[in-house]
């Protein structure tokens, strides 16, 4: 349906407008200049800068808040309107010294600079006045300079209402207002999560990345002793700003020659934020966000904004290593590749193709995953290829494929924002998918979205939830089924939807028989009232999304629980409409893409079964080989295979399996039994220690490719740097190994790999690099003509007859370690580090914020065992033990512990404790099912989490920047009061009505 449009007139010209647009929106869209400084497309109106005044009907109004209506006549050019706008900019320049040529923000995108220039301001009415506050340099990544701050409040709006961390406010009550953090503490000691929103939206240099300071410009590193008189001199002789700007623009143009701006896609989680990396040679100046980025706009999290130092780390692998005796020896590529080819070739000859396993990486590109599975299948003749989704999301994928047909989120972040009800089960998006969480927090805070959180821990979203429920561990399937049954019992199901679009209703309903409220209450520990409230909230919402992650999938009954989630959505008709659907939140940047492009033992790219003869024939014809017919080993099988001596060799890239697989003692013992082990990585990981050959790979910033995020969105990333030292992009390494084994490949660029894949897998038929240029992205399934499918199942489900399937499931009781292991061990990621921290610990600032892992202990247990922050405890499970320091917190309750996974030390790694028990269907380890016993080693000690971590801050929630407080100040005169319109400007145009 096309949106209705109408016309408005600006300065005598007619422009098309859409309902809901402000005058400023219309002007911006049509390229008419109306000054605006506080307005930002991602933030909306803030009303602090007053530069956007226009004359409508003889009145001065802010064009950012005044909605366009049909026939409206707007004047932004008459002398009095200009006077009003100039009064506003003069007030701003009182707070901001224009020394553009020596300012690090002089990069062509400074809002103040550009506005002053376009307004043709020649002189300022009010002289600049410094504020009585020193700059705040306390934070490791950014600084606040009050003297340059114009108090526009963009940073506050971003922090309060976009990121919704609620740290920044402007204290309008002081004589000289300024931005403050929490209750006016140094930035580093506040609740600031270092997401960088405030810095990204600052219209000038008041908030800046420290990496830019004194570094971006040619003249910006001048010592203060010279700089201050230089600025004075410029102002003293200033002929007008036009001449000054001429100089600053020359300088800005010169910067373009040495500052390179490259679009990339973040590698720190499955959300898929895209942004520019600004670099000077190999130095990263900053991450620059753009409102056009399809998923995140101007948003980032602490890792995406600041966590890229690892790329230039001294510890990067830069040469191939070969195990010789008890040490690794650096070698040439020639020698290493020949050895890999010879060994793999011999083992394949001797023991058969299935004696070798291939483990792919969810951190690497779609093209690399495609090529790796092609190598395993077409060159090496085996389906023994898998990726780390086996550790996290395979149960969710399987649960969805069973019920609705496709293993991916059913909508996009737009649907999550538009939904009336978000249910988060066993996921901690505020830390693991930070930017996605901001959208939920924003919808919840501003637009009345309801939020239910089901979790063991009271994490940030749980604290914000309308309804928080805490079931017993591993009982999600039971409450899900009981709630579904209750909904059916009340007759609240979506009968029309079920009749037309869903199969298996009767047998499914019958299977729910035992999930009565009393039974569920007994098993889950929830009250019947809580269960009824859950059902009622779902019933009352016109649209609902369920988001889940490892809290569901890392259990013995994980696939069935994921299925139960999908069943509930089907019963309530929450599929195929805006604001509905199932969202298994992918943990790593390319978990989705690795699976999509075929590094799975049973699936060819695009989720076509290897057992399907027609599918195989299509690939056999294209690749000119005979393909293996039976599904191969998954990660779990491979570890078992090594242990039993069936798997002789392993080729693994971009995965620290030794730390991240469950029951790591067992996994490491299995590695030791391999005849030949190739590890390909950016760093010398724990896993690499077991290798025979270590190949140095290049990270995303050093190559081209695409990633697919949790939304199924394919996005292009571009090479920023040349590979460090002798390291190479993974796809080039695969090609060289494959060619030594007779493949005869000749890919010159990843775009050729994507083109091949798109020609073979119907799911990606229309995917191409041409269609992914700039900020463009494609959401699969992509039709031949390039059409994306952001929302799945609008008309049909991806099952043979187009109908979804309700699948009856049974509850699987969790693994119980035994009575002596009396504490439940939960575990997972945290905001500041990626996984075990192989990359993020190379950043000094991130390490400053979080130097160690920690064990969260409840207030109750701390009292019982006499523990305080910093106490050292030993945890023992039937599989191993670790020693970690304690943080006492109300985030966990009773006998439930939470151990963060940000460590590379064996003695602290949670997977020393976990077991090899796994989901019965997908073999995903039951990481979340473990009992431990605790022994206190030191009852006191240094806290593992420093006081300058955001978790100790004190948030100050409010709506926006509270501009009303500014307007109430005695020294504030509204501009329309100051400048009375005479009334003769209006009506000068000759419009018809």
């Amino acid at each position: 349906m096309e949106e209705s449009t109408f016309s408005i007139e600006i300065n005598g010209k007619t422009f098309k407008a859409k309902p809901g647009q402000s005058i400023l929106d219309v002007a911006k869209e049509q390229g008419v200049f109306i000054p605006s400084i506080c307005y930002h497309p991602s933030l909306g109106t803030i009303q602090t800068c007053d530069t956007c005044y226009v004359n409508v009907g003889g009145e001065l109004v802010r064009s950012c808040t005044t909605k366009a209506v049909d026939g409206m006549v707007v004047d932004s050019l008459s002398p009095l309107v200009q006077e009003a706008q100039h009064e506003a900019i003069d007030r701003i320049l009182k707070n901001h010294e224009l020394y553009c040529t020596v300012c690090d923000n002089n990069n062509g995108n400074c809002t103040i600079h550009n506005t002053v220039e376009l307004m043709e301001v020649e002189h300022q009415k009010y002289p600049f006045k410094a504020k009585p506050y020193p700059p705040d340099n306390s934070h490791p990544f950014y600084r606040y300079e009050p003297d340059q701050c114009i108090l526009c409040g963009r940073c506050v709006e971003a922090c309060q209402d976009l990121q919704v961390n609620e740290t920044l406010t402007i204290d309008w009550s002081r004589e000289a207002p300024r931005v403050i953090w929490d209750n006016d503490v140094p930035i580093d000691q506040s609740s600031c999560v270092s997401c960088g929103h405030c810095v990204s939206v600052c219209p000038c240099n008041a908030l800046m990345e420290k990496s830019m300071l004194g570094n971006a410009g040619y003249l910006t590193n001048i010592p203060p002793k010279i700089l201050a008189p230089m600025i004075d001199l410029t102002k003293e002789v200033e002929p007008g700003y036009r001449e000054i700007f001429a100089v600053s623009e020359v300088e800005s143009a010169m910067r373009k020659a040495r500052i390179k701006r490259t679009k990339t896609v973040c590698t720190y989680c499955g959300v898929g934020c895209s942004f520019e990396v600004w670099t000077k040679d190999r130095e990263i100046l900053k991450i620059q966000t753009h409102a056009e980025a399809p998923v995140n706009g101007v948003s980032t999290c602490v890792k995406g904004k600041w966590g890229w130092d690892f790329v230039n780390s001294e510890e990067r692998l830069t040469k191939p290593l070969i195990r010789k005796g008890d040490e690794f020896v650096e070698s040439t590529w020639e020698e290493a590749l020949n050895l890999v080819a010879e060994k793999l070739g011999t083992i394949k000859e001797t023991y058969g193709p299935d004696s070798i396993g291939y483990i792919a990486s969810s951190k690497c590109s779609n093209e690399e995953n495609y090529l790796f599975q092609k190598f395993a299948r077409a060159v090496m003749g085996t389906n023994n290829v898998d990726n780390c989704s086996r550790y996290c999301q395979s149960p969710a994928t399987t649960g969805l494929m069973r019920t609705v047909g496709l293993g991916g989120d059913s909508g996009t972040i737009e649907d999550i924002m538009a939904s009336e009800l978000i249910i988060v089960v066993g996921a901690n998006p505020a830390e693991s998918h930070p930017v996605l969480a901001t959208r939920i927090k924003r919808a919840h805070k501003l637009h009345g979205q309801k939020l239910i959180v089901v979790d063991l821990r009271e994490h940030e979203l749980a604290q914000r939830a309308d309804f928080l429920v805490h079931p017993k561990p591993s009982t999600d399937l039971i409450w899900l089924s009981a709630v579904t049954k209750y909904i059916l019992d009340q007759g609240w199901e979506d009968k029309e939807f079920l009749k037309n679009r869903v199969n298996g209703f009767d047998s499914y309903v019958a299977s729910l028989e035992k999930y009565t409220l009393p039974y569920a209450a007994e098993k889950t520990g929830l009250t019947e009232d809580e269960l009824i409230k859950l059902a009622t909230m779902i019933h009352e919402a016109k649209s609902a999304c369920i988001l889940w992650a490892m809290g569901v999938t890392q259990h013995k009954g994980a696939t069935d629980t994921s299925t139960a989630i999908s069943n509930l959505l089907l019963i309530t008709g929450n599929y195929g409409r805006t604001g509905t659907g199932a969202y298994p939140l992918r943990g790593h940047n390319n978990v989705q893409g690795a699976c999509d492009f075929g590094t799975m033992p049973a699936w060819m790219p695009g989720y076509e079964p290897v057992q399907d003869k027609e599918v195989r024939e299509r690939y056999e014809k294209a690749w000119g080989v005979k393909l293996p017919e039976e599904p191969g080993m998954d990660n779990h099988h491979m570890v078992e295979g090594m242990d039993k001596g069936k798997l002789k060799a392993l080729y693994l890239f971009g995965e620290d399996m030794s730390l991240v697989d469950a029951n790591s003692n067992h996994v490491n013992a299995a590695f030791e039994r391999l005849e030949f082990f190739v590890v390909q990585d950016v760093f010398f990981s724990k896993t690499a220690q077991f290798a025979d050959v270590v190949l140095p790979a290049a990270p995303s910033l050093e190559k081209d490719g695409t990633f697919t995020n949790t939304e199924r969105r394919i996005q292009r990333f571009h090479k920023v740097f040349e590979p460090l030292g002798d390291s190479k992009p993974d796809w080039e390494i695969f090609q060289e190994v494959a060619n030594r084994l007779g493949a005869n490949w000749n890919y010159k660029h990843p775009s050729e790999i994507m083109a091949e894949s798109a020609s073979l897998a119907p799911l990606f038929a229309g995917v191409s690099y041409e269609r992914l240029e700039e900020w463009n992205s494609q959401v699969w399934p992509v039709l031949k003509d390039g059409t994306s499918t952001p929302l799945l199942y609008k008309n049909r489900f991806a099952l043979p007859d187009g109908k979804a399937r309700l699948v009856p499931v049974e509850w699987t009781p969790p693994f119980v370690a035994g009575e002596e292991f009396d504490l439940h061990l939960n575990n997972g990621r945290l905001l500041e580090h990626f996984h075990e921290g192989n990359m993020t610990y190379r950043s000094e600032g991130l390490t400053h914020k979080v130097p160690h892992p920690w064990l969260e202990v409840s207030l109750q247990l701390a009292k019982e065992r006499n523990l305080e922050d910093g106490a050292l405890v030993e945890l023992t499970s039937p599989y191993g033990q670790v020693q970690v320091r304690v943080i006492v917190t109300d985030r966990v309750k009773g006998n439930e512990l939470y151990l963060t996974m940000n460590t590379r030390e064996d003695t602290e790694a949670v997977n020393r404790l976990t077991s090899s028990y796994h989901d019965t269907i997908t073999h995903t380890p039951a990481f979340k099912e473990m009992g431990v016993k605790m022994e206190v080693i030191e009852s006191k000690g240094e806290s593992p989490l420093p006081r300058h971590n955001h978790r100790f801050g004190n948030r100050v929630p409010q709506l926006s920047v509270r501009v009303e407080d500014k307007w109430r100040r005695s020294d504030f005169t509204p501009i329309p009061e100051l400048i009375q319109l005479r009334g003769d400007e209006y009506g000068e145009s000759n419009h018809a009505n």
Partner: protein
């Protein structure tokens, strides 16, 4: 059987070899640019003998101090005037019409050419003769132009006076 190991034997770059490679590269370049290098050496020698090199070295070492002094010197009212006047001169030039200025300058040039003769010949002219010359078309055009000029200048002077009062 491959146990975990962490020992990595790195190829330590051979310092002597690297150095001798660098030296031979430098010598090659020197030989290829013999003339230019020898001339440069002469220049440096001169700079050294006149103690200029020494002064420059000290200036570089003390660049912040000297920069501060320099900027302070520039940051004085008289220098402000110089810079302002310089910029005014530029904008004055910008305000002139090139054709007019061209005619005026041509006239000025021709006039100057004319005056060079009487100095050498030094023929004294009577007042009568001068008055008679006022009647010539050339002098009359020049005089009209001068009066027009004074009109325009006076206009601005008067306006400024009124604005100030």
């Amino acid at each position: 059987m491959a146990r975990a190991i962490t020992q990595i034997k790195k190829e330590v770059p051979n310092q002597e070899l690297e150095q001798s490679q660098a030296v031979s590269e430098i010598i090659q370049e020197l030989a290829a640019n013999k003339e230019a290098i020898l001339q440069t050496i002469n220049i440096i020698k001169g700079l050294h003998e006149t103690k200029i090199l020494e002064a420059v070295t000290s200036m570089i070492e003390q660049r912040t101090e000297i920069g501060a002094i320099a900027i302070q010197q520039i940051n004085q009212p008289s220098m402000h005037n110089v810079i302002k006047n310089g910029m005014s001169a530029f904008s004055f030039l910008g305000s002139l019409q090139p054709e007019q200025l061209n005619t005026l300058l041509d006239g000025l040039g021709n006039g100057v050419k004319n005056i060079s003769t009487p100095e050498q010949d030094a023929e004294k002219q009577s007042l009568w003769k001068l008055r008679k010359r006022l009647g010539s078309p050339e002098v009359r055009v020049a005089m009209t132009t001068m009066f027009d000029f004074m009109d325009g200048m006076g206009e601005v002077l008067l306006r400024n006076k009124q604005e100030k009062s």
